[in-house]
């Protein structure tokens, strides 16, 4: 058998819409098989993974809490990826944003004022942006590969946080636990609606998605991002600078990841701990692609991936299995998303019997 690709004359509208859903469907099928191999009833496992978390108010709030950082980060990453800047260190920018934003409630904890919260958010964005500025500077001015530098900085950020909460920022009255003092009430991001825990981080996420969607669709900047991403040469002829674009996209995605970090810490955890993220920065990469790098699609994709976190916790309880299948689900999903995207640009021909003449290079 061989598989041949034939380029479509135009991008397939049908498949641009369908491909994420095909990918989701395939992931469910493979997920079911995986549960079967683990010796569980696949249907009830999938039910408690994907449906049960949606049936109660409190769990919908949990969904919003988990979706918020994913959407915020992924929206920023979509700008990066569209402009061909491969920032994969959002996890580190998330952590540095959380640290920078926590300076006020941890170090200056005596200062209590309504100004604290907005300043924390601002500091968080600055922290994330500054950390993203390192790979941006290295790529724009020293020609260093941003994929590797941004990823290496994730480890650095994790270790830095670990040092802070075990060392200088450890809660003096905390029985030697590696955590900072809990934030004062003035430093905690309030709930959005009275019915549950979901905090304003989700509001920030929706707002960011709409703003970036508007920018991409209706402004010159959005056009510049797309052109430079598709062809740097064409962009240069149009007078766009790819160096400035590196700075713009990296700082933007860093700031959004930083905001996600401080919103998560201030809204959900309310103190700093050695580990503050179950890999949001990496999962957001999947979110960005599942949303087809479109901010509105990313909102939906963020909710889907948040569901995998919740579902993972749910099956831990109901089926007595570990949380490990979450990562497998997420990885599978990204694989299927990427392979289904081929359908948008190509027709796929399966050749079961080779009837055409096999030229010199034979079976591919």
């Amino acid at each position: 058998m061989r598989i041949e690709l034939e380029k479509r004359p135009d991008v397939s509208k049908l498949f641009s819409l369908l491909s994420p859903f095909i990918a989701l469907g395939l992931t469910l099928v493979f997920g079911g098989i995986m549960f079967m191999l683990l010796g569980k009833d696949p249907l009830s496992a999938l039910y408690s993974f994907f449906i049960e978390p949606l049936t109660e108010t409190w769990s919908l709030h949990e969904l919003a809490i988990k979706a918020a950082p994913l959407i915020l980060i992924a929206v920023g990453l979509s700008v990066c990826y569209r402009s061909n800047n491969w920032n994969i260190g959002a996890e580190g920018q998330f952590i540095m944003g959380a640290i920078a934003g926590s300076i006020l409630p941890v170090v200056f904890y005596e200062w209590q004022s309504p100004l604290v919260l907005p300043l924390m958010m601002l500091l968080g964005m600055m922290g994330g942006a500054l950390f993203a500025a390192i790979p941006a500077f290295l790529k724009a001015h020293l020609n260093t590969n941003e994929i590797l530098t941004s990823l290496m900085l994730v480890y650095v950020a994790q270790l830095f946080l670990d040092w802070l909460v075990r060392g200088p920022w450890r809660n003096p009255g905390g029985m030697n636990f590696p955590e900072t003092r809990t934030f004062d009430a003035t430093a905690i991001l309030p709930e959005m609606i009275a019915s549950g825990r979901a905090h304003w981080g989700f509001g920030f996420a929706i707002l960011a998605a709409i703003l970036i969607w508007f920018m991409m669709r209706y402004t010159l900047k959005g056009f510049e991002i797309t052109v430079l991403g598709q062809s740097e040469r064409a962009g240069r002829f149009a007078g766009f600078s790819s160096r400035k674009m590196i700075w713009f996209s990296m700082l933007l995605s860093g700031a959004l990841a930083g905001l996600a970090g401080i919103a998560e810490v201030s809204g959900a955890i309310q103190q700093l701990r050695p580990v503050i993220s179950p890999g949001y920065g990496f999962t957001a990469i999947i979110v960005a692609f599942l949303g087809r790098l479109n901010p509105l699609g990313i909102v939906v994709a963020g909710l889907v991936l948040a569901l995998t976190y919740l579902g993972g916790e749910a099956v831990q309880v109901s089926l007595q299995i570990s949380d490990k299948p979450i990562r497998v689900f997420q990885g599978l999903l990204l694989f299927f998303v990427l392979s289904c995207d081929t359908l948008i640009h190509y027709k796929i021909r399966m050749m079961w019997f080779d009837l055409t003449d096999t030229t010199a290079d034979g079976v591919r």
Binding site: T144, L148, T149, V156, F289, K324, R327, G331
Partner: protein, 306 residues
């Protein structure tokens, strides 16, 4: 054995997985494919090697399992990027995420088990050479393989016809295609070689470096190996130099902690990652040098015309 020898021995053990993973990725990249999934293939290799060793009692079967799992896992990447022309950067990331997930799942019941360390193979006479003997001739199979692989890859790339073809595919796939070279098949083989080497590197981690299984035990070494390929400017022997340099850096933190130098351990643990960044800067700020050495078609998709 003196302290200096002991230190060098640990450096060699720390460097071997880096050298192995990097030499595999070098071949992959020389064929024009950028596989960012090294970390995922490595951790899969580590898990499968450990599990196979525990099941059979033989670390040599473990090595084979590590190699096979890495190669099979890389086929996933190959299918997506070569057959379905998916984006190589994104697919590589997907491979890493999936590898960390799957290895964590299949290895879960093996966490905390003490493994079987790969035995040393002692060369008679040679191992009695003072200083060099214990370092180079009283090692395990994977160390010998790592050196043999680097030499073999060097010979293959620059002295063999097949290697010339592979390099031509990596520099200009359309020209290679026009000459009748099967671009896609060449790249599939190169990707699988990279996967096998990453799997072997993983096996070294769970059979030699620390004979046990822990989740995420590759700890970023796959990414460091990717940086090593850039550092080596795609030349096999420079991988050895770079790998041992990085091995030394990652070991130095252990000794610094042992000797009680008053630096927080987290800062020392960050050293290998920071060193990677510094090295990348040094090597790539000269734009022209980088352009000369980089395989020209690296990361570009190829769809054969009919």
């Amino acid at each position: 054995m003196g302290i200096f020898e002991a230190i060098l021995l640990t450096v060699i053990t720390a460097a071997t997985p880096l050298v192995l993973a990097a030499i595999g990725e070098l071949v992959t990249e020389r064929s024009g494919v950028l596989n960012l999934g090294v970390e995922g293939m490595m951790v899969m290799g580590a898990a499968c090697a450990f599990i196979a060793t525990q099941q059979t009692g033989s670390p040599y079967i473990g090595i084979l399992a590590g190699i096979a799992s890495g190669a099979l896992f890389s086929l996933l990447f190959g299918f997506l990027t070569l057959t379905l022309v998916a984006n190589q950067v994104a697919t590589g990331l997907a491979l890493t995420i999936l590898g960390l997930g799957v290895s964590g799942m299949i290895g879960e019941s093996y966490v905390g088990q003490s493994g079987i360390k790969l035995p040393q193979i002692v060369f008679p006479i040679l191992s009695d050479i003072p200083f060099l003997g214990p370092l180079l001739f009283r090692q395990d199979l994977i160390f010998y393989l790592s050196i043999a692989l680097v030499a073999g890859v060097h010979w293959f790339l620059f002295r063999s016809r097949a290697g010339l073809k592979l390099r031509s595919v990596g520099d200009s796939h359309s020209s290679a295609h026009a000459l009748g070279i099967n671009v896609i098949r060449t790249r599939y083989l190169a990707v699988m070689f990279g996967g096998a080497c990453a799997g072997l590197a993983g096996a070294q981690l769970s059979l030699v470096y620390t004979p046990q299984w822990a989740e995420n035990m590759s700890a970023g070494r796959g990414w460091i190996a990717l940086a090593l390929v850039v550092f080596a400017s795609w030349r096999p022997w420079r991988i050895v130099a770079g790998g041992y340099l990085f091995g030394a850096v990652s070991i130095s933190q252990l000794y610094a902690q042992a000797f009680g130098i008053g630096i927080p351990s987290q800062f020392l643990s960050a050293l290998p990652y920071l060193a990677t960044i510094v090295v990348l800067i040094l090597i790539s700020h000269n734009r022209r040098m980088t352009l000369i050495n980089t395989p020209a078609a690296l990361g570009k998709a190829f769809v054969p015309d009919r």
